[in-house]
Subunit: 356 residues, 3 copies
Amino acid sequence: MTVSTKINTGRFFEDFTLNEVIQHATPRTISTGDSALYIALTGSRNPLHCSEPFAQSLGYKTTPVDDLLAFHIAFGKTVPDISVNAVANLGYADVCFTQPVFVGDTLSTSSQVIGLKQNSNGKSGVVYVRSTAVNHRDEPVLSWVRWVMVHKNNVSAPAPETVIPELPGFVAPEHLNIPAYFSAKNFDHEATGGQYFWEDYQAGERIHHVAGMTINHGDHSLATRLYQNNARLHFDDFAMQSSSFGKRLVYGGVPISLCRALSFNGLENALSILAINAGTHANPSFAGDTIYTLTEVLDSWALPNRTDLGALRLRMVGIKNMSPGEITEIKSNGAYHQNVVLDLDYTVAMPRRGSN
Amino acid sequence: MTVSTKINTGRFFEDFTLNEVIQHATPRTISTGDSALYIALTGSRNPLHCSEPFAQSLGYKTTPVDDLLAFHIAFGKTVPDISVNAVANLGYADVCFTQPVFVGDTLSTSSQVIGLKQNSNGKSGVVYVRSTAVNHRDEPVLSWVRWVMVHKNNVSAPAPETVIPELPGFVAPEHLNIPAYFSAKNFDHEATGGQYFWEDYQAGERIHHVAGMTINHGDHSLATRLYQNNARLHFDDFAMQSSSFGKRLVYGGVPISLCRALSFNGLENALSILAINAGTHANPSFAGDTIYTLTEVLDSWALPNRTDLGALRLRMVGIKNMSPGEITEIKSNGAYHQNVVLDLDYTVAMPRRGSN
Amino acid sequence: MTVSTKINTGRFFEDFTLNEVIQHATPRTISTGDSALYIALTGSRNPLHCSEPFAQSLGYKTTPVDDLLAFHIAFGKTVPDISVNAVANLGYADVCFTQPVFVGDTLSTSSQVIGLKQNSNGKSGVVYVRSTAVNHRDEPVLSWVRWVMVHKNNVSAPAPETVIPELPGFVAPEHLNIPAYFSAKNFDHEATGGQYFWEDYQAGERIHHVAGMTINHGDHSLATRLYQNNARLHFDDFAMQSSSFGKRLVYGGVPISLCRALSFNGLENALSILAINAGTHANPSFAGDTIYTLTEVLDSWALPNRTDLGALRLRMVGIKNMSPGEITEIKSNGAYHQNVVLDLDYTVAMPRRGSN
């Protein structure tokens, strides 16, 4: 027997070239099965994603799939090409939800290398990519920038020219995409159970969401496989036993989705995510951890030509094994509190009081 | 930062008013994903809910979703408003399955307070509600009464007038709803694998179902989130560690569904649930418990104008970590055996011998 | 109370008669929920089963469901009648995938007893069955032979005449079924991410797939229930504690599916399974085991009248808790290495280089 060389070992730092475009494999047609699983995995209670009549009352032809389900599926496709040899996911920025995704849409993702910076140790480097997911009509549905630290395989490979992309601090209100057909004129707050509208949230307000969710191995494994994210460190306990963690890590998208679902109580009318301005996985999560969340209201924007909806810029902080009310300093001296797992700056659409 | 007061902490005993109607949030459109998950979570083998041709042979346009899936989804909506501060779910009664639920139907639930009784300790009370789930055509699909013990938040709040609703001991045969189109004339018992028909079951018969199902954390968490039931004690292990249980409790609907699925062997032709006459969660279940079940035949009723189907009133007893054949006294001196988790009195439709 | 005798205890060795045909219960309509769950349970990234446009580019009307999902669902139906009293699943042979299964198809399975051999101890025997799954148009979609060792209930029952069926060593290329409409003329290898085509694989090549997947209790329980396989030893931890294993066994189909999914990296263009020539569960798997896989290329066949596709006969070996590169002797002196869980000889269709 000859040992095959057909295994794709993934790209190392020296395999990325500035401006190259990588088409990722595994186009995926979204189904109602995906949406049902997403509810079962997160406990999401947002009626926009589970009630056809409610979605239709807002002008949608039917329920759009959860913004984060679309994100995780689109993201998962990039893993084999971008981050399978990553040391760390350093951050996200400029995540734009361009248009809703519906059951029956087929998502494909490509990524362009927009920045490269070799580390001073010469053993790894940071790769910046802009990834874009399109539907089967080749219309963009979402795009994002992320940067990851990737090992070099050949440490003697020359360092590329350092290029660090300029990234916006947040997606500006005028760049937010809201479908023209989406209207909150007929918004029924009994469907969300939320009594608070856009005008009721003020910058400087912090919401301590009460619910917590313990992550089971079954949960995060199912979720990460559903997203076709094949990063080994989430699945291979045998190999991870000899890692510095000693066990499997939870995919960082799992706490993002849990925090979004847990923050429903207090943000019931935050109907859809328009952008993720910035995101950091502050500390890893493991099975057995209980995730809590707090939200800080960062800003509140009226939207151009919109009297029915406004936007809120929110900071969603994921915390493990500690009540959100007990945490005072999320970050001090530039370092995250050890129980903080997620720091996500995002923007939501919310109906205005008296919109209807 | 100002700490927000927008969190919905749920109703306490003094927040319920006799006769008030509460519209619950989160309408839900049922999908094939929900049904697939229900099979994966329970192992149900009832062909009425998984075979279109079989369902059509009985007059249905397509497969109705499992009666208990519809129940759990409808029920889950009531939790944030009714039982999030409950000390205990004391019981169910008069659960009527009014008409089948199909994929594409959107369920909404409302509850009316039909009884109130403050406990003598002045710290809690019992709330009785009748909840009704309707589909998107506003037709009732199922209704039930339950009563829960709920904490008072303000112990000095005055006690309401005591009103205890009169509840039927069981749903009378003439109140059972069977769709007019449902006919067992073409019933094919090879599809269920069941050799026994309505005439073969006699009051006084006890069936020791052989199969057992161990509850995994992943299973009950997925199920309870699928039902959008957000009661914290099922999910938040960190908080539950300091409860008297020391760990998460399994949602009581999980053993109900497991017992129904486990009782398929012995009740293969119990095609659909017409009513739940009474139900008690006798003891809590935890992950790691193995659930078994036994059935006692309580009564057997011919149905008005029906030669194809009869009804059986059954008692389904859920038992943990003990073979059903070993239990002799389910209840003695008014107290349940410590291994009994469920005592459910329900009514099923079953084809009559020679119906076809 | 009278204890009922209505429980189906399953067939024992003496209950099988040569040539009898057993119609299994629980016809099942396949849904998109099943396919979504299959992805979540296995991490499969094969675009044929998750992308409608990709499937359509190959001539399919829509995505066929995963071959192994169809197999497990069809197989599960046989368990209550064939193997519920089995001591061991001894092997599979001549598994033919006759035509694709689509969402909406309803599968039913029947089995014919094609061989019987009582063991010399007189306490058990081997039963050979050919099982055939048909869709709702009564067209065969898949058939297989398996043989199981089954206990006798009545050890004094006479031994049947010994009949051992002749089974092909492999499904001959001329017996492989490829739909007439399936064409790789427009095959897009960017959708699979695979750079290697039929011509690139040579007999004698061994592929050490890098990924590993740890089996969680939640995973295998969900999968096995999804397949409506009710064999107690997969689910009932309480009973299994007093078995020789001391715990639940994982259904053998779970490692089959995991190995198929894990072998995607290295076999990206192995689009569909045409046959399983032989299969053995070499050792049991348990929750907590991490499954790895290696593939040996056994043979390479051009297909009659096909310039777009060829067939590869592969040996897929499932290994637990050991890197595939570390295993040298899969079997020595007729005994499997203790870490080998699966030895599966199967045939796939793969596009030819320059097919398009």
